[in-house]
């Protein structure tokens, strides 16, 4: 239980860290997995977006997290050399009080980019050896980057890989368990050795593999899309003692938030979810161009006003 002094005195980094450990926080931690430059431009009425503008926008929204996406060299048909991958202003963000999450791409994302959607999805069937060898290459790339990132003192890592779509998994879970999960386990172990919590981000309905995700060692899950049968209440009940859940806000919620009744209903839902430990509020999809970020602002302002 937080002491009276601790109430409202936690910094963003500590607030998020406590949520990941599924402990009580003074307020609901908030974070976005990605923020499109166009959203920042529109919100701040500026022409260019750099570190200062991103920080201003993050503060404006009252976010506790900055999530840094990898900047890869020009794609040449294969995986990049890990030394050529960067994260914008990685060191500068460490001077802020924000929790620094850094994102790495997973094997499906890379596989689809290198082989094409259809070809990669059937590679395990057509050539198990090539499939396995490619997974090993992605693992090496990620482990090399993880070592650099841990040295840089990042607070958390996310492996982003869309393993599923609305209906269910893209690949048979037997294939995942045989080839993909052992590799993820090695990557997560490397991260854990550096003392850094690890989240997995996946769109879609991944209900079938949540026990595997816990077994692999992930600390949290981002993207809880009710339209993909990912029910946050059900997930909290079943796995709340083992995973931190990040997301749950739908693009549609932000449009509706402009209507007072809908805003109140949304807030009630958020507070019910947040009454359980191990929750970070945010959108499921990040703030991309076209999303109702002003609706999100309304939600966040109201939460702040209510001292939550």
């Amino acid at each position: 239980m937080l002491s009276h002094e601790q109430k409202n005195t936690l910094g963003s980094r500590d607030r998020v860290a406590l949520a990941i450990q599924r402990q009580e926080t003074d307020r609901i931690p908030k974070g976005e997995i990605c923020i499109d430059e166009a959203v920042v431009k529109a919100s701040l009425s500026c022409d260019k977006v750099g570190f200062d503008e991103n920080l201003e926008f993050t503060n404006k929204l009252g976010l506790d997290i900055i999530c840094l996406n990898p900047l890869y060299p020009e794609f040449n048909g294969d995986l990049p050399d890990s030394r050529e991958v960067f994260w914008a202003d990685l060191n500068k963000w460490s001077d802020t009080n924000l929790f620094r999450f850094v994102m790495l791409d997973g094997v499906l994302g890379w596989g689809i980019k290198v082989f094409g959607f259809n070809q990669f999805l059937i590679l395990s069937n057509k050539s198990p050896l090539s499939f396995h060898s490619f997974i090993e290459k992605v693992e090496s790339l990620n482990v090399e980057m993880v070592r650099r990132l841990i040295d840089a003192g990042v607070d958390g890592l996310i492996i982003a890989d869309d393993l599923a779509y609305q209906r269910g998994l893209l690949i048979n879970p037997r294939v995942m368990r045989r080839y993909i999960f052992p590799s993820l386990e090695s990557q997560v172990a490397e991260m854990a050795r550096g003392g850094v919590p690890v989240f997995i981000h996946s769109d879609g309905n991944i209900n079938e593999i949540i026990p595997d995700i816990i077994e692999i060692g992930f600390n949290g899950l981002h993207c809880i899309d009710r339209n993909s049968s990912m029910d946050i209440f059900d997930l909290q009940q079943k796995y709340g003692s083992k995973l931190c859940f990040w997301g749950s806000l739908h693009a549609e919620d932000l449009i509706k938030a402009r209507e007072p009744d809908c805003l109140q209903t949304l807030l009630d839902t958020i507070f019910t979810i947040a009454s359980k430990k191990g929750f970070i509020l945010g959108t499921n999809c990040g703030l991309f161009n076209g999303i109702s970020w002003d609706g999100l602002m309304l939600v966040y302002e109201k939460i702040k006003e209510l001292g939550k």
């Binding site: 999805l121 069937n125 057509k126 779509y165 609305q166 161009n289």
Partner: protein, 210 residues
Amino acid sequence: MINGLIKAIANLEEETTLRLVKEKIASGETPLEIVEQCRKGVEIVGKRYNEEIYYLSDLIMSEEIFRRVMEILEPHFPKNTNQNKYKLIMGTIEGDIHDLGKNIVINLLRSVGFEVRDLGVDVQPEDFVKCVKETGASIIGISVLLTFSINSVKKVMRLLEEAGLRDNMTVVIGGYPVNERIREYTGADYYETDAVKAVELFKRIIMEKE
């Protein structure tokens, strides 16, 4: 009782399927008879997918096997026997690069016999119209995930109208944000947010057109 070829496709056994197809050609079965057996196999795959026994990758694998069967059979077809496929154009509208939903629907459609021209992502409204003129297709599927791209769908409808192509055209929009209000706003004929239901919808459209 299902024969070996149907079973091989249904079980996604690529090499067995191709071997059986070659044996059947050698033994004098016609390409159409062989295609029909393969179609039955693919149908079982679709059924297993609907029953959540198979996954999307399995569906794509069946399509790949079918594609390779067709490669083997192609020289043996009498000319112009394979022209009855239903032509359909699909693409993700301009400004949007999400293609997963579109790819799923395309794979499902191809697995049930549609000939789909995939225009890819970020497709300009003009390119949908251009493709209609090139292919003579009378059905368009437009995938849209970002709400701000919805006006571009409306533009496709306007361009079809201007080109005099609207009357014979059926336009289906799909993707997470679409609903009846958006369908009405864009002027599209139908909308669907579920991939499996979308395939049923396209089948119904074909029946209506026939």
